[in-house]
Amino acid sequence: MQVATFLAYLAAAALFILGIRRLRRPETARSGNTIAAVGMVIALVATLFVIEFQSLILIGAAALLGTVVGALSAQRVKMTAMPQMVAAYNGVGGGAAALIALSEFYHLQTSSEQSLVATITVPLTVLVGSVSFAGSIIAFTKLQEIAFSGSVSFPLQQVVNGLLFIVILVLAANAILAGNVLPFISPTASVAAILVGSLILGVLLVIPIGGADMPIVISLLNACTGLAAAASGFVLGNYILIIGGTIVGASGTILTNLMSGALGRPLGKIIFAGIAASGSKKSEDREDREVNDASAETVGGYLADEAEKVVIVPGYGLAVAQAQGPMRDLMEALEKQGKEVLFGIHPVAGRMPGHMNVLLTEVGIPYAKLYDLEDINPEFEDADAAIIVGANDVVNPAASDPEQDTPISGMPILEVEKAKKVIFIKRSLSPGFAGVDNPLFYDTDKTMMLFADAKQGLQDVIASVQSS
């Protein structure tokens, strides 16, 4: 039976790998997810054959509870809230690893037979697991805007974190060497201390990071949980934990790099500087400066009469206003008049990578019209109009202005200013996520500002396009 279970674990591992492989291409991605899920089922069923039977009721109850909560939350969550949901799931995973290590520690203490490997990996698992648990929960609360929104920082943050980390390591050494490092602290006490310390560390690490970088941080914590799972695999001598955990740990690390590349923020900067957008910075002279306040009629008229090629740039505001439907209608209205309509999707438009793609495909705007940063920027030259709906940072030339040091400095942007006319549809002059004022707003002869809620604004524009 042992052997059968082991082979089943290998099959599960193979399915995880095949699943991830398919997740690399849009057409096969969904099936990849399914395949990985099948692997998971196999691993779980196989495990049932190697554990005491009478414990099944308890396990079943706990699993059922988790399943229900997981299914409901996953089904209910709004697309815009995906990132924090992932953060939550990731956190509990880390928590589970830490708890497993804790009870293994208890076994080691009570039972006679010693396992050096377990003794070493237990504190490690507690550390990593707790950090990603606490960190993920903070990330969740931040993105849910429950608390700590923006970047919360206090003096000597890095120093404090560093010291705390060292303390934890010492405690770990103490636990491993059966209390011979700090004779006055028992191994049990030190493991408990490691738990608490790691939780605090997790909080401190994530608290200073602004929401703009959260997806990256979540991805990083995802990798951590993977490592925690692998570590607990060493504790239990369980191969599927080791393989699955390690693969997630490694691929998660790479993925984190890809993301921070897309956001244009080096990972180190994010973690150690917490430079991310605080959303607080406001430019005071805003009201004094004059803008070209355009009506939906003017905008619609221009589009209908003078525009041949139109690029639409959606942003976070579109998601907030749930205006993806009207946006598709605008596309159709313009195309009915024989105009070319493209969509420029910035990798970090919205609040999660791929956020805009998800929303737009949701309402059936074809892939073929969604252009990446590199693909769309050349298109602006001969575009007659760039319509920016509920976006700011991703089109903010300030990002490429060497003079300023803003949270978005260095981030590649969509060069809408190259288009003949730039049309903003947003509610006010207030800046975006990064809180950086946008010079384009005040370029009165190139820019039209249509102040409106994205949904309403788009509908009005459609109306006037069709009427003219």
């Binding site: 690399r24 998971m40 779980l44 996953a74 995906m82 589970a96 001598g237 793609n357 998800v358």
Partner: protein, 102 residues
Amino acid sequence: MNSFLAELAVLIIAAFLGFELISRVPNLLHTPLMSATNAIHGVILVGGMITLAAATNVYIQAVGFIAVFFGALNVVGGFWVTNRMLGMFRSPTPRVKKRRED
């Protein structure tokens, strides 16, 4: 000790595999990939089951119970939400395909 060495070997090869697996993924898929791998490390649930089954007293049982609950939450929620995300992608056009493959 020997079993540990074998596990170490698996760890190292699996790590290299993990690095190789994620390469040149379109932005479009960053979030789904994150969320799917997140579901995969829910395999920690296996550990939770083993722990809970081996629990010798009620405290450890409680700990194990929470671990299993957490693990199941991670697995089910993770795969489910990923599936929802991906459900929104239509079958792509050649252009997108091209961009991805070359």
